[in-house]
């Protein structure tokens, strides 16, 4: 029986291949919509999971999360220095690290922060932490080796900026991979960022810039007595500066509370007229809520395409079986029992359809792997492309539906007498 089916498939291999390919592509379409959406959702959720609470100046919650966690450059208003000082002194806080941005080098954002941030994000992979103003720690995906030096560019990634030629950082450590956009970040002491911009703006006599971030640093009075000239790179990092209220402030603070109750307390306390405190998860959930509609529409489109392809294929198969009536009639004339003939027709069609569906899952997986890999390289957000137990049910359901649908051509083969089939 299988011998015969194989011979028949071999004889019609071009048609069979095209049919299976069509089914595979239709399946891949649906599978990739599901997998890609899941990869984006899980990837961004896992990227955000490393951050418990984000505090920023009053403004857009979404922008605060996008900037501080996903490191998307945007002008953010600055928090007054008191906020950072208060949070770092707060007994409910295990860790509060400032995030200051505004510079970049070779497409990598430079993030001004403290050495606590490295601990918060999973520690160092190699090298050592900050100890001097000119030290830098690179994210796992940054193509800079320990010992390399660079000048930061002013501005944001992708824009033409001017080089801070008087500032030079030297890479002293590399973070362990985090699966977050911070893998593409270069961490430097926040004190250096303050100094760089104060210095820079003094040098060029800029008017105070209102495009916040750290470009606004210059607008803040700046008289805490350090020498911020070109030679500051060798100075030790002064952590006490973070507790003073005379620094320019920062656009965002990542807070790790001691307990969940503390987290809710802090969020409550820092939701004021001038400050904003959010759990990244709540913002992402809201975003997914918006994106969910888009996904549902995509899902409908994919399902519609699959149904159309399915109907077309069923037609093709039915026509094919009708054309084979004589062959089927002959098989029965020579003594093949009716259920065997029906089984053969069903098996042959089902082999094609099932092969198509299974290949479609593989193709969909491969496509999403490729897209997610590309996205991950560009954003630093690790995108987990994975099947879940529910997908197995989808696959089984699809196969069962195909098994039922392919009964139609088999029934055509079943219904006619051999004499009718041979006459046609």
């Amino acid at each position: 029986m299988f011998h015969f089916i194989l011979a028949d498939l071999r004889r019609n291999w071009i048609g069979a291949l095209i049919l299976a390919l069509l089914i595979a592509l239709a399946t891949a379409l649906g599978v990739s919509v599901t997998l890609q959406e899941r990869a984006l959702r899980l990837g961004s959720a896992r990227a955000a999971a490393a951050f418990d609470l984000v505090v920023g100046a009053a403004g857009s919650e979404t922008q605060l999360i996008l900037s501080s966690i996903f490191l998307q450059p945007a002008p953010l208003p600055l928090l007054p220095p008191e906020t950072l000082a208060a949070l770092r002194a707060d007994p409910r806080v295990e860790n509060a690290v400032p995030v200051g941005f505004g510079d970049f080098v070779a497409g990598y954002p430079i993030v001004g922060t403290t050495s606590d941030a490295v601990e918060m994000l999973g520690g160092l992979g190699e090298g050592e932490g900050f100890s001097h103003m000119g030290d830098a720690i690179v994210g796992a995906q940054v193509s800079r080796a320990i010992g390399d030096s660079f000048h930061p560019f002013h501005g944001a990634v992708g824009e033409a900026g001017e080089v801070h030629s008087h500032v030079e950082y030297r890479v002293v450590g590399r973070m362990a991979p985090t699966g977050t956009p911070w893998d593409r970040a270069i961490l430097v002491p926040i004190q250096s960022v303050w100094a760089t911009h104060a210095n820079h703006d003094h040098d060029h006599g800029h008017e105070p810039e209102q495009t916040a971030g750290l470009a606004a640093v210059a607008s803040v009075p700046h008289d805490h007595g350090h020498d911020h000239g070109p030679g500051f790179a060798g100075e030790a990092v002064d952590e006490s500066e973070l507790l003073h209220t005379d620094n320019p402030g920062v656009p965002a603070i990542l807070v790790k509370p001691k307990s969940i109750a503390d987290a809710y307390n802090l969020r409550q306390q820092y939701r004021t007229e001038t400050t904003l405190a959010v759990f990244p998860g709540e913002v992402l959930t809201r975003l997914y809520g918006t994106l969910g509609d888009a996904r549902r529409i995509l899902g409908f489109v994919a399902t519609g395409a699959q149904l159309l392809v399915g109907a077309a294929i069923l037609m093709v198969v039915a026509v094919h079986v009708l054309q084979r009536r004589r062959q089927i009639g002959a098989l029965r004339a020579f003594g093949a029992p009716r259920p065997v003939v029906m089984g053969m027709v069903w098996t042959e069609v089902f082999i094609l359809v099932a092969a198509g569906v299974i290949c479609g899952f593989a193709i969909g997986y491969a496509i999403v792997r490729a897209i997610s890999g590309y996205l991950a390289r560009n954003s630093g957000v690790a995108m987990p492309v994975e099947f879940q137990p529910a997908d197995l049910w989808t696959l089984l359901f699809l196969l069962a539906a195909c098994a039922a649908a392919t009964l139609l051509p088999a029934l055509i083969a079943y219904r006619q007498t051999p004499a009718q089939a041979l006459r046609s």
Binding site: M1, R10, Q327, R332, A333, F334, G335, A336, P337, A419
Partner: protein, 221 residues
């Protein structure tokens, strides 16, 4: 070895006033050879379909060795045919993707869970007997004469009590046709099978023991 006894058989098709086949009475002895002749449309194919159980008889009795196949359901007739009938048809109905040997064995493979013992060697013997030298050759690559000889081997492999051939030589050239006719008659006689051949081929007809002439669905005297 099967003997046929037809009694009061009438086959009617919807929309036709006269029966396509009307046989009040007909007998064939076991091992008899009969040629079925008549113009096209005279009921030859209907007769073959009825006596092989490929089509349901309208009314009457079609008994082979006292088993009335007209009373059997479709599945029952299929099983009876698989056990008792070897068919040879004008356009062979071989399966091009399979070898000569696989074609000969296909009906056996499909109607048994496992190929009956000795069937494969019997297939090889028969193929040798009908002059097919390479049983492994794909049947689509052989000549028409060879194809019909493979079909003859297929009809005989299950040792049927009845061999029915519908215009077995009509689509062959004279030489191949003669060879197939010889094989059919010789092999049926060796096996002792009853042989019914519908044909226009005079040389084949005259080798049959008996001629049944059909006209408008009735046996002419």
């Amino acid at each position: 070895m099967l003997a046929l006894s037809v009694d009061g058989l009438q086959v009617r098709y919807p929309g036709l006033p006269v029966p396509a086949l009307d046989l009040p009475s007909l007998s064939l002895a076991a091992g008899e050879t009969a040629a079925l002749v008549g113009p096209s449309g005279s009921g030859k194919t209907t007769f073959i379909n009825i006596v092989t159980g490929m089509e349901r008889a309208g009314s009457g009795c079609v008994a082979w060795n006292d088993e009335n196949i007209a009373g059997l359901p479709e599945g029952g007739r299929d099983r009876w045919r698989a056990r008792n009938v070897g068919l040879v048809m004008q356009d062979f109905h071989l399966f091009p993707g399979l070898s000569a040997e696989a074609n000969v064995l296909l009906p056996q493979r499909l109607s048994h869970l496992r190929l009956p013992a000795g069937m494969q060697s019997r297939a090889r013997e028969l193929l040798a007997r009908v002059g097919i030298e390479r049983p492994e050759q794909l049947v689509g690559t052989t000549s028409r004469g060879q194809m019909q000889r493979v079909a003859v081997a297929r009809a005989l492999v299950g040792r049927p009590g009845l061999i029915v051939a519908d215009e077995p030589t009509a689509s062959l050239d004279a030489e191949s046709g003669a060879a197939v006719a010889d094989l059919l008659v010789e092999l049926a006689q060796e096996a002792g099978s009853t042989l019914i051949v519908a044909s226009h081929d005079g040389r084949l007809i005259e080798r049959m023991g008996r001629t049944l002439r059909l006209e408008n669905g009735r046996l002419a005297a």
